[in-house]
Symmetry: C2
Subunit: 393 residues, 2 copies
């Protein structure tokens, strides 16, 4: 590429147009092996490229449609777009081809919004805490157990810490839940729970613990939201309150799964310390609301609760959760840790901050984190790394 | 629906058009939760339906393009097609929308052909052997270990049989490999290795064993085949011989991964019986060629070999595999089981049958299975159920 440099402005324009040749652009780590695109540039912009020979309109739907880019057709049947710089971390995305909304064949898929969607990991120095480092690694097991509450064999994911198989030690357990439309694979696949704990344990910042993930969509008969439609996202503002469908009273069946079936299975099949002082329950978004609902309903089973960007809205500390929070002295004595966090760009900021303020006024001790970030996995990975060191101390 | 029946032909036509209302059509078990389509009918035909409001042409690519169906647009922006009856078992598929070839948002994805593709499971009475039944279940673990051969932390899948955690018993190990373009998740995800073994062990037809799956695409610098293009598949006949890229001499690096790194890791971290009499190596397609190559190269490590529809072509029993098969008496004494099978509709039938005949002429004892079926997971699940009972007896 020959470039005649005449003035500063020209240099800038030329450099903008030659991204990918000059800036050590690399395939995203979430790409399928061998796929060149999506490609990350040194300024964290990303170039997406898909083949669609006969399409009229192809769009990139970042964050499942929260921001939309029109892709441009080349002469070779490939459509391409380079985004603005993307925040470090993990982003869901989809491609819309003449109205067909699907995953990008260049990317691995992740289960979200009740379907398989693409995801792009944008690494940065702050990604180190969930990287697969040269430290002892735990396992992530897929297990099947029978739930009487649902009458079915159910699949769970279980993280066992490094050395579990070589020792006869018993371990505390964190029950950790995903958000709406995801499943029991999300915390290891999108969330990197295993590498986060491997790294914390290696640095002696967290106690070795077992983590278990169930499928929190159980009994949650929500209608899926309409699929993202190109162009519609920017014109429909995100909700500022908790939709009715997220209200915690819908979680009765899943409460039984956790409290009646899963806990006895875990205590019967893993070397757990089977008491409330060594059991935590946490979750993100819908899973955070479930953690509050189920945890406060079973304070005899859990001494630690965590709610990451939870889809909850406490309105009356004396009456909500069947009055479980009414006696603050008793709750403060029972809960060794109550953790709540939300990002400043999260559409749930209002109700979560409101819930925090009500807890504070009611004298319910809790750890409150108002971080940067939106309603995304980038934030929830950080919250796990912040929450886990406070457990079982 | 009002129907005026006048003659047999009319009845048939009406019934054809009302599939889905009259025949107890059900969502395929491989659908994402809540997705109505693809839908299976009682005659095993399947209706596929995707939304693509502005598309000009939408096609269903069954078996990744080996058979193509044009989908028909309804007035609601959805495209639909009902296939001919589909063989029971598991089928990969994709959707092409104006030339954009991607997964169906209604289906779970599976890793094949180096990308995430859709899959449809068509149940039948003969599916019972890999069903999640009411028997004790083993675990499928995701483990990370460091390979000196590749200088990286690698992910493996490990099946441990029911009762592994509750006993102090030691177990034999089957090293079991996927095909080209798939990965270490394939044997549990597509292959149902865990349920197949759970059921065999419960019926006392197979010895309890550990199974481990590695990523056999290591060092296999094959170019991916061109993506299926609508209409092109029928005109390009499948290859009748083994492509050069599948030739076994390309597997040197993966040989080191298995023989130098993985075996010591497994023996060091699981309760294995760490000798050749309790170690088997098998694989499908490219993985079957790898099993022959690596197994015959390390007869000190393996006493059982299995090749399911293997991508291999033995031409000279005295010279191939560096002469490992030259002394038939010695090989017959060393190998407790050499298993080879291929389906009558498999494009590799010719070279695999030819290899079998050469082995037979050379006096190399082996179990030979020529079954029905093509180059598909439906066949490989059956082969595992046939092969595993012969191990470690």
């Amino acid at each position: 590429m020959k470039v005649r440099i005449e003035q500063g402005l020209v240099i800038m324009l030329i450099c903008t147009s030659c991204w990918g040749q000059a800036d050590n652009a690399r395939p995203a780590p979430t790409n399928v092996p061998g796929a060149e695109f999506p490609k990350l540039h040194s300024d964290r912009s990303a170039t997406f490229r898909v083949q669609a020979d006969n399409a009229q309109k192809v769009q990139l739907l970042m964050e499942l449609g929260q921001s939309t880019y029109d892709m441009v057709k080349g002469t070779d049947g490939f459509w391409e777009v380079t985004t603005k710089p993307v925040l470090p971390g993990f982003h869901y995305y989809l491609v819309s081809t003449d109205g067909f909304v699907s995953a990008d064949p260049g990317s691995r898929t992740f289960f979200a919004a009740r379907k398989e969607v693409s995801g792009i990991e944008v690494p940065a120095p702050e990604s180190e805490f969930f990287a697969a480092k040269d430290v002892p690694h735990g396992s992530v097991r897929t297990e099947w157990y029978f739930s009487k509450a649902t009458g079915e064999w159910r699949r769970i994911f279980v993280y066992t810490p490094p050395g579990y198989d070589q020792s006869s030690e018993r371990y505390p357990v964190l029950y950790l839940q995903h958000g709406w439309g995801e499943d029991e694979a999300a915390w290891s696949h999108q969330g990197k729970e295993n590498f986060i704990l491997d790294n914390l344990i290696a640095a002696q910042k967290a106690k070795p613990m077992i983590i278990v993930n169930e499928n929190g969509m159980t009994g949650v008969n929500f209608q899926p939201p309409p699929p993202p439609r190109p162009g519609s996202a920017p014109s429909s503002p995100p909700p500022r309150s908790i939709p009715d469908s997220f209200k915690e009273e819908r979680y009765t069946l899943f409460d039984s799964v956790i409290s009646t079936d899963l806990i006895p299975f875990m205590d019967g099949h893993f070397r757990t310390i089977p008491d409330r002082e060594h059991r935590a329950l946490a979750g993100l978004s819908m899973g955070g609301a479930q953690a509050f609902r189920i945890g406060l309903n079973h304070l005899n089973q859990f001494a630690y609760l965590g709610a990451f960007s939870p889809a909850l809205s406490i309105t009356d500390a004396a009456k909500d959760y069947n009055g479980a929070l009414a006696d603050s002295a008793k709750v403060n004595q029972q809960l060794r840790l109550l953790w709540m966090g939300v990002g400043s760009d999260d559409f749930l900021l209002g109700p979560v901050r409101g819930s925090h303020e009500i807890l504070e006024k009611a004298g319910i001790k809790h750890m409150w984190v108002e971080s940067s970030g939106a309603h995304v996995w980038t934030v929830w990975r950080k919250y796990l790394a912040d929450f886990a060191p406070g457990l079982f101390q």
